[in-house]
Amino acid sequence: MGAGMEDKIIKQISLFAENKPGRLANVANKLKSAGVNIRAFTIAESGDFGIIRMVVDRPDYTHDILHDAGFTVSETSVLGIEMEDVPGSMSRIAEVFGKVKINIDYAYAFITRDQKALLIVRVNDIEKAVKTLQEEGIKLITMKELEKI
């Protein structure tokens, strides 16, 4: 991995959960008692089960907490792309990826306190994605910055 690559990569917590009442509460309670702060959160669901994806302030610690509590959990490398909160920002990112044939596995977005939009993406070639975005002058959020959002 090239210099500076590592801190551009965000560790997302991915979690398997059955699609049943009370399952999310179970996870949330664990995070609460461990004092983990959730920065971004989404659930992908498929009938009987879901995959919870979240960005938290202390990913390694959170992973261990959930793993020890018996959850099926993993850490996934994703990117946090900062965009202007104006029409056309998303289109630009998608075009950049399309041009160099990077596939987006999934993405979710939210608005930050300082009126920026933040897009969390998992791509099929993360190193190439970092390089491309940097060449295009698109800002990637670091883990440190994310903690302050």
Binding site: F16, A17, R23, A44, G70, T72, V73
Partner: protein, 434 residues
């Protein structure tokens, strides 16, 4: 270490064994006819007299007995000795009806223990071994059966019974236990518990062998247990009606030796009741040749197996049966197709992503039967990509479909959410109201 417990009997030429069985069978029919009103009535109704039994083949003239007979004569109507000669009772849990009671004379207990001592010897166990008996002690025959067998052998018993798993693991490690006897599902639970408390059975214990039985299990699960615990896993077999656990595989691991001087085995076609050719699957029918308190004539065990007739590499001449492939009672019929839980276990245990616990749920939605299999995946198989998870579900349902010829819905459930069992595990929930 002696190779055989009783070399003369265990390696007796097959012809001599047959003669021995014939003599014992002739004595047995007189014994039960004279002592048990139940058998006398059954023989009379069937139009057969003890004198009609002169050769082994004549056994076909005798009526069958089934578990219902034990229920109908509850508690001790089939016994052939008065209470004063009894040494012990055991009883079944009676989950599918009235409980059944079995009884033993002192000689019955001794014969039972000797059967297992022979079996333990046949896998290379001896006086230096320490056997942890994690079968339940009490009315269930597993615990006390393995216990007495081990003492007869002269090895050391650690009578933990089932439950209190962390304590069991601690003792296993601290006492240098070399062998264990329990249900395969309980051993899986032990492996899982060990992992949870940061203990490695493979690396940190002296465990070399496990005897697993009292519920049907498959070759695939056996392989998984052997890999994960670093032991040799042996099938142990016997039912409470026969006494309890009596037989195991030998070191050749090519079937379970049934001691022919004590038990007569028939494998019959479930439909016609005729003997099936050696090697073909049928239902196991047992006649006890030496039991005093509760002898059984042509008892339909409801277990399905095959008779293996080729000579065994271990040198024992006693007939062998293959691993019990299922109970005829366990068969579920889904959309007219016969399904055995063991078939499903075989498929699942061959897929590395699938965990060791599963549950089969059969239901009827509208006019159609549906079958769902719930599985837990191994942590390493989890992916944050939905497409990977869907691919895993398709892989499992495809594998099941190709074996069962039936569409099966596969449901991924959270790790630890399927019931863990300390005794016999329940693998099927049938919600159909038929």
């Amino acid at each position: 270490m002696p190779e055989y417990w009783d070399p003369e009997i265990e390696t007796m030429p097959a012809e001599d064994l047959k003669k021995l069985q014939e003599e014992k069978l002739k004595q047995l029919v007189h014994y039960v006819y004279e002592r048990s009103p139940f058998y006398r009535k059954r023989f009379d109704e069937h139009g057969v007299k003890p004198e009609d039994i002169q050769t082994l083949e004549d056994i076909r003239k005798l009526p069958f007995t089934v578990k219902q007979d034990l229920r109908d004569t509850y508690p001790i109507g089939m016994f052939c000795v008065p209470n004063s000669q009894l040494t012990r009772f055991h009883a079944s849990s009676g989950t599918t009806g009235k409980p059944t009671v079995v009884g033993y004379t002192q000689q019955d207990i001794d014969e039972w223990a000797e059967s297992l001592a022979r079996a333990f010897t046949s896998v290379g166990m001896g006086k230096d071994d320490i056997l942890q008996v994690s079968y339940g002690y009490g009315l269930f025959t597993g615990g006390l059966g393995a216990h007495y067998g081990c003492e007869k052998l002269g090895a050391t018993v650690l009578p933990t019974s089932s439950g209190n798993t962390e304590r069991q693991l601690e003792l296993m490690m601290d006492l240098d236990v070399t062998a264990i006897a329990c249900t395969p599902s309980y051993f899986l639970y032990m492996i899982e518990t060990a992992r949870k408390i940061g203990m490695n059975i493979k690396e940190e214990t002296k465990l070399k062998r496990g005897f697993f039985g009292a519920e049907p299990w498959t070759e695939e699960l056996k392989k998984r247990i052997e890999d994960e615990a670093g032991i040799k896993a042996y099938d142990i077999y016997g039912t409470s009606e026969m006494s309890g656990p009596l037989f195991t595989e030998c070191s050749a691991q090519s079937g379970i030796h049934i001691w022919a001087d004590k038990f007569l085995v028939e494998i019959l076609d479930t439909e016609t009741g005729e003997t099936v050719p050696d090697g073909e699957r049928g239902e196991l029918v047992i006649t006890t040749l030496t039991k005093e308190a509760l002898p059984l004539i042509r008892y339909k065990v409801k277990d399905l197996t095959r008779k293996l007739s080729e000579p065994c590499a271990c040198g024992r001449t006693h007939p062998r049966i293959a691993r019990i492939s299922g109970r005829s009672d366990d068969m579920i019929i889904v959309r007219g197709i016969n399904v055995f839980p063991g078939q499903i276990e075989s498929v699942l245990m061959k897929i590395p992503e699938v965990g060791s616990h599963f549950m089969i749920i059969v239901d009827r939605i509208g006019p159609l039967d549906s079958m769902k299999v719930q599985i837990e995946m191994h942590g390493s198989a989890f992916s944050d990509k939905m497409s990977d998870m869907m691919a895993l579900k398709r892989k499992v349902s495809g594998a099941l479909k190709s074996v069962l010829n039936l569409a099966v819905e596969v449901e991924l459930v959270e790790h630890g959410s399927l019931p863990r069992s300390e005794g016999k595990s329940k693998k099927v929930i049938d919600k159909r109201k038929i």
